[in-house]
């Protein structure tokens, strides 16, 4: 076999003074990077296998390990970066598409980081969330344009029946991650945390394991192009149904869960044969145009007796505003838009890194477009794709989102270190794997607690920021771009975002 030209991505430094050869690193590495010795108190490492997940570093009881990105030693070249060489070497060896996991890691502008929030000074008292209530309660679903009120004397009689709503205590939902792409324990962590925190998690296109039916009130189930695990009870047990058209990490392409990951439980959940590849087609083959979507939306509404909202998820692509408008008009109660930085368990790297647009721009345009068309209230806007902090959440809401999905942030909360190797199924953190040795590493009790903590912390921070703006109900910030100002953006970007430049007053 010809020698590989690939070079290790990481450099592992083992402090010999500190290493006690306890072999924790050996036992924890699913990639067999570390190797102990039966006869000597030494451990050696094979760097070429390291994915930089930092599991060994984290568990090393003496902090003897450091895993760093390796300086490649190539002649610096502004055009030909490491990743280009690495990609070419790999493809020259394998002839295949480069796969990757998690969201786009390219240095495209992150608009959240160019948006600044407002606060009250003098003319308007800020509100102290420790002393006064600040409400984050959010309802997702179609809002009627007006309440049909009939007056009997002085008493109002409401003739409008509210459309089904999803009530959130915090405007953050765990985004679609299927059981299959993530482990049972990871899914359980999400479901339990969603229930405890008063929000939702999304089944992804992996069906719903029977163990999670009791969590139905806090689960949004997905109907994707593969229709995996979709059946009557699946639709009915959930709090809402989401039709997945596209995904931010891989707009325009489908999904593929390799057969080796289709374990007994997954085959049972997805209703597919054991060890068969689970392939989600790129399009829904019953949706080749918007009116087909409408038909599916209403087919599902019929199936669930119009009792729960139906969402439609699309990837943020160039014409997203018009597409979203069509989706709203097709009857979606919630429109989910997933930006280019949205995560994935596996996607071709070239797609992930080059297709789609940042969610901030898509959100701003969709919200504005729907308002211009006077249909903003027909659907709630749920956005996804790279929400990293409570600041991102609150900025998204100020830009016009009703709530946000977090996927990567939730996984990071569970221990993910963004090594981007989800597609290998060897997640050392027990998240994106089905290997029973690895899945045990995520104790859902800890997972639940960490996620609930994360949401609680974000909620506190959001309340602090809201209070600072003198706002005590989240709906008063939603779409309230007056509380946002842009720094370091061009006029065009400001205009697309519908946000004034920092320094501009009211």
């Amino acid at each position: 076999m010809a020698r590989s030209l690939l070079f290790p991505e990481f450099k592992i430094e083992r402090d010999k003074e500190r290493c006690i050869a306890c072999q924790v690193c050996v036992r924890q590495c699913a990639n067999d990077v570390h190797e102990g010795s039966d006869t000597e108190d030494t451990v050696v490492s094979q760097e070429e296998k390291c994915v930089g997940c930092q599991r060994c570093v984290n568990l090393c009881p003496t902090n003897a390990l450091t895993v760093q990105t390796r300086k490649d030693g190539f002649r610096p070249n502004g055009n030909w970066e490491d990743r280009h060489l690495r990609g070419i070497y790999k493809q020259a060896e394998t002839g295949g598409i480069l796969l990757t996991g998690m969201g786009c890691d390219r240095l495209y502008p992150v608009y959240w980081d160019h948006l600044l929030l407002n606060a009250s000074q003098v003319t308007n008292p800020s509100i102290d969330p420790l002393r006064e209530p600040i409400e984050l309660t959010t309802y997702l679903g179609k809002k009627e344009e007006k309440l049909d009120i009939h007056w009997e004397g002085d008493s109002p009689v409401v003739r409008t029946r509210l459309a089904p709503q999803l009530g959130l205590e915090v405007p953050v939902i765990f985004s679609a991650m299927s059981y299959g792409s993530i482990s049972y324990n990871a899914f359980r962590s999400l479901a339990e945390a969603a229930r405890e925190a008063g929000t939702f998690c999304n089944s992804g296109e992996g069906g719903l394991h029977p163990d999670f039916y009791p969590f139905g009130e806090n689960i949004i189930v997905q109907v994707a192009s593969g229709r995996f695990g979709v059946h009557r009870d699946y639709l009915r047990v959930a709090a809402a149904v989401e039709i997945k058209i596209g995904q931010g990490a891989k707009p325009g392409i489908g999904g593929h869960l390799p057969g080796e990951k289709v374990s007994k439980e997954i085959s049972r959940t997805r209703k597919i044969p054991l060890e068969s590849d689970a392939i989600s087609p790129a399009p829904h083959h019953d949706i080749y145009s918007i009116e087909d979507l409408e038909r599916l939306v209403f087919a599902i509404k019929e199936a669930i007796n119009y009792e729960k909202p139906v969402a439609v998820k699309i990837a943020a692509v160039h014409n997203v505003a018009a597409i979203a408008s069509g989706v709203v008009r097709a009857g979606a109660d919630i429109v989910t838009i997933d930006g280019i930085r949205g995560g994935t368990g596996a996607a071709p790297q070239v797609i992930r890194d080059n297709v789609g647009i940042p969610i901030e721009l898509a959100l701003a345009q969709v919200d504005e477009r729907l308002r211009l068309e006077g249909i903003r209230h027909h659907s709630s806007l749920l956005i996804a794709g790279g929400i990293r902090s409570s600041a991102d959440v609150i900025k998204a809401i100020a830009l016009g989102a009703d709530a946000v999905y977090v996927g990567t942030a939730a996984l990071v909360g569970l221990g993910c270190h963004l090594c981007q190797k989800c597609y290998t199924g060897k997640c050392n953190w027990g998240i994106a794997t089905q290997d029973p040795v690895l899945t045990k590493r995520l104790n859902p009790n800890i997972g639940r607690r960490r996620l609930v903590n994360l949401l609680r912390a974000w909620a506190f921070e959001i309340k602090e920021m809201l209070g600072g703006m003198g706002v005590n109900a989240i709906e008063s910030l939603r779409g309230n771009r007056e509380h946002l100002r842009a720094v370091g953006l061009s006029r065009e970007e400001c205009s697309v975002l519908g946000v004034k430049a920092a320094g501009e007053g009211w």
Partner: protein, 366 residues
């Protein structure tokens, strides 16, 4: 010239309503608002008066401010498209010690020619067209048998400029302004009027950005960047178009907290839940106390956590609303009843409808 800046303001507000319909001159309201001189800073003052044009009571009275009088023909062309100008005149003004320069103010009395079921909408459309389309002209009020008089200066000076002591009305509301950002534009002063609504407001609406965009959904174009403007439009939308009665505006503008709604009994709970769910975009967040005048009545309201003052008082057949008690005592030293509005509370009175001092209509105070 028109200034696109939104102006956060402090301010004084005051209102008088004669429940028996008795007309009084503007002298009292000027005295009342003048007491609260310190709440203003000379950058804006104004009044709304109801019942002042009994001879044209059936017609829309448009008060139009011309920064550029040459635009008058453009404005009139728009007005004439759907209305007949029965009468027009310059609004008489008299130079005062503190105000030597002022723009041209004209008033038009218009008869709408189209279908009666959409005349209000057409008038709103006309106002939007002029105010957003014609630079140099601005419609400050567009109701019937009422008018708004406002400008840059202390309210008492504005009152004298417009010679309000010469007008007779059954309801007067006034505003003295303390903007923290000098706009210096006459059209930006308060009250704000649309149709027969007039609104004065003390406060700063943190939710302005979304309230404004919410209104866009319903065709209201907010171009004044003032809270008062969005409040006016919201009142118009909710009361005139969505059939929400004034006493329940508090449930939308200053909604109870979810926790409180949770504890309500049905059907009240469902009503409040529905109102809040559907009208979340109309929730006014941040500090405010407002007085809204409308044909035959006046109401006052404060924000959901009472960050701005407002008092209501009754003396014989007169109903008062004001930022400060002194402003009421100035014109009615002894009162039958005086109450401070509670958070989210709406107190409304109408001519000929004697409530027991507002008690009956206090629905949304929690």
């Amino acid at each position: 010239m028109r200034d696109p800046f939104r102006i956060p303001s402090g301010c004084a507000v005051s209102g008088i309503l004669n429940l028996d319909g008795t007309h009084v001159s503007g002298e009292k309201i000027i005295r009342s608002i003048e007491v609260m001189h310190e709440r203003s800073n000379g950058l804006g003052g104004g009044f709304a008066a109801y019942g002042i044009y009994p001879e044209y009571a059936e017609l829309y009275a448009f008060h139009v401010l011309y920064d550029d009088p040459l635009t008058a023909k453009d404005v009139e062309a728009i007005l004439k498209r759907s209305c007949t100008i029965e009468h027009s005149e310059e609004i008489p003004c008299k130079e005062t010690e503190n105000i030597q320069n002022w723009p041209v103010f004209k008033r038009y009395f218009l008869r709408y020619r189209g279908r009666s079921d959409c005349e209000d909408d057409e008038v709103v459309r006309m106002v939007m067209e002029v105010n957003s389309g014609i630079h140099g002209a601005y419609i400050v009020s567009s109701g019937k048998n009422m008018g708004v008089f406002k400008g840059v200066g202390y309210p008492e000076d504005i009152g004298k400029l417009f010679q309000l002591e010469e007008y007779q009305g059954y309801c007067w509301i006034a505003h003295g302004r303390f903007p923290t950002n000098s706009a210096g534009w006459w059209g930006g002063a308060h009250p704000f009027g649309l149709l027969s609504w007039s609104v004065v407001h003390n406060g700063e609406i943190s939710s302005y950005g979304i309230n404004r965009r919410y209104l866009q959904n319903f065709g209201y174009v907010c171009n004044l960047q003032t809270d008062t403007e969005v409040i006016t439009y919201l009142v118009d939308l909710l009361v005139r178009k969505h059939n929400i009665r004034i006493p329940y505006l508090g449930a939308v503008f200053a909604s109870p907290f979810w926790e409180q709604i949770e504890k309500m009994e049905e059907p009240k709970k469902e009503f409040f839940t529905s109102l809040r769910t559907i009208y979340g975009g109309a929730l006014l967040n941040g500090p405010f106390s407002i007085i809204v005048g409308f044909p035959g009545g006046m109401f006052g309201m404060v924000d959901r956590i009472k960050l701005r003052p407002m008092l209501a008082a009754w003396k014989d057949s007169t109903f008062f609303l004001s930022s400060e008690e002194c402003a009421i005592r100035e014109i009615a030293p002894s009162l039958d009843r005086l109450v401070a509005l509670r958070a989210g509370e709406v107190i409304s009175e109408r001519v000929g409808e004697r409530n027991s001092h507002g008690q009956k209509l206090t629905v949304s105070g929690v």
